[in-house]
Amino acid sequence: MQLAFQVVSIVVLVTVAMGVVGYLIDRSTERHVDRGDRQ
């Protein structure tokens, strides 16, 4: 039970960290055309 908790909690933590990094990269490299702006 303790092993399962350790595995699940760390996998979730790393997955969330990956999500944050991916989100930050996506936002920081977003261009006007991606938002539908035509400037």
Binding site: V7, I10, V11, V14, T29, R31
Partner: protein, 317 residues
């Protein structure tokens, strides 16, 4: 001539050292000249060298098992070869591989930023410079210790049996002896694999003519997720290998997997210089882009195939 993993290590170990020096020199010159073309060339070299460093590191452990067949806890039968020195070299190489991943990762981000933003942001330019200098230092140390293994005339590193605690053995033994560590790494390895294959299937199938109504630009935005997946798999793969390299280096499936990883990595770099990303919905990709997309699918299926064959083809899982 039979090409052994030792030959492979002797051949490949020049790339992380000499190749990286070329990349670093080019990058510094590019910053000085403020040339975007030179910066992109240097970033490609950083990413390329980082990819080649993976088989360089892995073939090192194969070379160790070839020149020192004794049990890990015992000294080598050949008294001119020092097991602690080999492990010190392995530890230095582990540190340099970690730094190489970081430098290669941010260099890849720089190339992506060039395509998306048409410039390299100052923060990333400085970060890549700092990381590349640290990487150069760690690679130089690994190379210097590596040379001492077979050249006693230049040997300055002295480590007695049982005295050293090299990084790769500390990390590897922790993963080997901690039940949760291997399970966590294995789970994350499959999460990373799903991210890579999911994104690359979409991008490459679009290039081959499937989903024609979807613009390339929309799929292009998914690419960082595949690279994050690759990063996770590179790190977890390193942990598996450090924990139990003996079960990998004996089977040819491992070398096939490494070959496919290198080919797939270089294949992905091609798309930074392909103009297909600017195409409108419905437009077909150029034949060259389609060829590279097809080869990308082939290489990634190969990586998965040889990865899943590891326990079955000549290995000792």
């Amino acid at each position: 001539m039979d090409l052994s993993p030792t030959h492979l290590h002797l051949l490949l170990n020049h790339f992380p050292t000499i190749g990286f020096i070329i990349g670093l020199t080019l990058y510094v010159a590019a910053l000085y000249a403020n040339s975007d073309h030179l910066k992109q060339a240097a970033l490609v070299i950083f990413v390329g060298v980082a990819i080649i460093t993976i088989p360089t590191y892995a073939s090192g452990n194969a070379a160790e098992t070839a020149i020192c067949v004794a049990e890990l806890s015992d000294p080598c039968a050949d008294t001119s070869v020092s097991r602690p020195l080999i492990e010190e070299h392995e530890g230095a190489a582990f540190a340099s591989l970690t730094m190489m991943f970081l430098t290669g990762g941010f260099a890849w981000l720089g190339l992506y930023q060039y395509r998306r933003l048409l410039r390299l942001p100052r923060w990333n330019a400085i970060l890549i410079l700092v990381l590349s200098l640290v990487t150069f230092a760690t690679v130089s140390r690994a190379a210097a210790i590596g040379g001492e293994i077979r050249h006693p005339e230049i040997r300055v590193t002295q480590i007695a049996e049982g005295q050293g605690r090299p990084l790769a053995r500390v990390v590897g033994n922790f993963v080997r002896d901690t039940p949760a560590a291997w399970i966590i790494a294995e789970t994350l390895h499959f999460v990373g694999l799903s991210m890579i294959i999911g994104v690359l299937l979409l991008i490459n199938l679009r290039t081959l003519g499937v989903l024609k109504t979807v613009p390339f630009g929309a799929l292009d935005r998914l690419l960082p997720w595949a690279v994050i997946g690759f990063g996770i798999n590179a790190i977890t793969g390193m942990l598996f290998f450090a924990a139990a390299y003996g079960q990998y280096v004996k089977g040819y499936a491992w070398y096939c997997k490494l070959g496919f990883i290198v080919a797939a990595g270089f294949n992905t770099l091609y798309f930074f210089f392909d103009k297909g990303w600017a195409m409108e919905p419905g437009a077909p990709a150029r034949p060259m882009s389609q060829l590279v997309a097809f080869s990308a699918l082939f290489f990634w299926v190969g990586v998965m195939y040889w990865g899943s064959m590891l326990p079955f083809l000549g290995s000792a899982f």
